[in-house]
Amino acid sequence: MMAFVMAIVKRDLLLILRQPADILNPLVFFILVVALFPLGVSPEASILAPTAAGIVWVAAMLATLLSLELMFKLDHEDGSLEQLLLAPYPGWSLVLAKVLVHWLISGLPLVLLSPLIASMLFLPLHALPTLMLSLLIGTPTLSLFGAIGAALVTGVRGGGMLLTILILPLYVPVIIFGAASVAAAVQGMPIDGYIAILGAMLVFALMITPWASSAALKL
């Protein structure tokens, strides 16, 4: 089982290394969205700082959405997905491997880039750990929920639009509590409650996604 997951992760990372453009696109998008806010709204710290948490979270969600469609699509197009589904391993391990790869290439870089992004938006330094922690818990949840939508629209032409509509309702609670935790940290309020709810959503996503997504792949 572990060997199966590792084989997929290794192959996908190698593929990304060979063709990095697909993956860099969402990250560049993430940085651009955030970088354009000071230009479009105002470069004043007094205006940017209060909205920083929301902007970072919205940009992170949009960047995740952008890369979701590719999660199963390329494998479906060249027939690899058939081979993966026929392998003598449960479908949920395939989904978990795909989610892990997606998070490694989209979620994790967002977490690592967030200090840079936050300083562009004058987020108070003491709120930075909370931003990173909330993204660290929240982005895997986004990848997991996204896997359900990505599996459902696999093989559907023009599925990207459909995917966004399907997944958005699941993303809304994550973004609300993610941004709220950072806002609380900015004001020096306790963040435990928000982080606990983010953690609960991650556990919930871990429970339902592998099952739902692998069922959708077999449709």
Binding site: A3, A7, R11, D78, G79, L86, P88
Partner: protein
């Protein structure tokens, strides 16, 4: 008395299988048995449902009507469809390595040997995107040599192969069934093999009037 050996040689029982797609019945009342040493050639016109049948039996397409029963639940299958399952940005060797890791795994030596058997010596470390259509097909076919399986599901396996390749592949099919494997394949080519069993889907098309259409 004969029930014990029967159980060991039978791989797959198909009973009264039917398939409907887009409100059109492709085939119905399809019953046959796949035994070790069998080579079934599925025939039918374009759109007769050959690919769908193979996918149903391999477990990639749901079975709504009829029954598909594996006598050996642990039987290993190898499915090779129209889409080859190869990654263009990986080399032939890397592709085989990861495809083999889905079943038994492989060593570099085994992969090179399999690629040599399919006539791709010297192309092991070439990216698949740089290979011709026939060569890509050969990379996929190397799995037949590399990954041991009981049943081969082959969908048009001769596509884009040259004459020599077709002859060689038929020899592999022959060896596979002689060694107790089974093959279920579609092809528009006539096969030059003894003990071939033909499953003609045109005999299973429902003899009914076309579906009601709105009067125009």
């Amino acid at each position: 008395m004969s029930s014990a050996p029967l159980a060991t040689t039978h791989l797959l029982l198909v009973n009264d299988l039917a398939c409907e797609r887009d409100d059109r019945c492709l085939y119905q009342q399809l019953s046959f048995t796949l035994k070790r040493g069998d080579l079934w050639h599925v025939k039918g016109q374009n759109g007769a449902g050959k690919t769908t049948l193979l996918r149903q039996l391999a477990g990639l397409h749901s079975v709504d009507t009829g029954k598909v029963q594996w006598c050996e639940p642990k039987a290993k299958i190898l499915y090779l469809g129209h889409k080859l399952g190869l990654k263009e940005q990986l080399t032939a060797n890397e592709n085989l390595s990861w495809l083999a890791s889905l079943s038994t795994g492989s060593t570099q030596e085994q992969r090179y040997k399999a690629l040599e058997t399919v006539g791709l010596r010297g192309f092991e470390e070439n990216l698949v995107s740089h290979l011709s259509a026939g060569q890509k097909r050969r990379v996929a076919l190397a799995r037949l040599q590399l990954c041991p399986a009981d049943v081969w599901f082959l969908d048009e396996p001769f596509t884009s192969l040259d004459q020599q390749g077709i002859i060689e592949e038929q020899a592999w099919l022959q060896t596979h069934i002689e060694q107790g494997g089974a093959v279920l394949m579609t092809s528009h080519q006539d096969l030059n093999l003894p003990q071939i069993k033909v499953l003609d889907l045109s005999l299973h098309v429902p003899q009914v009037a076309p579906l009601n259409r709105p009067n125009l």
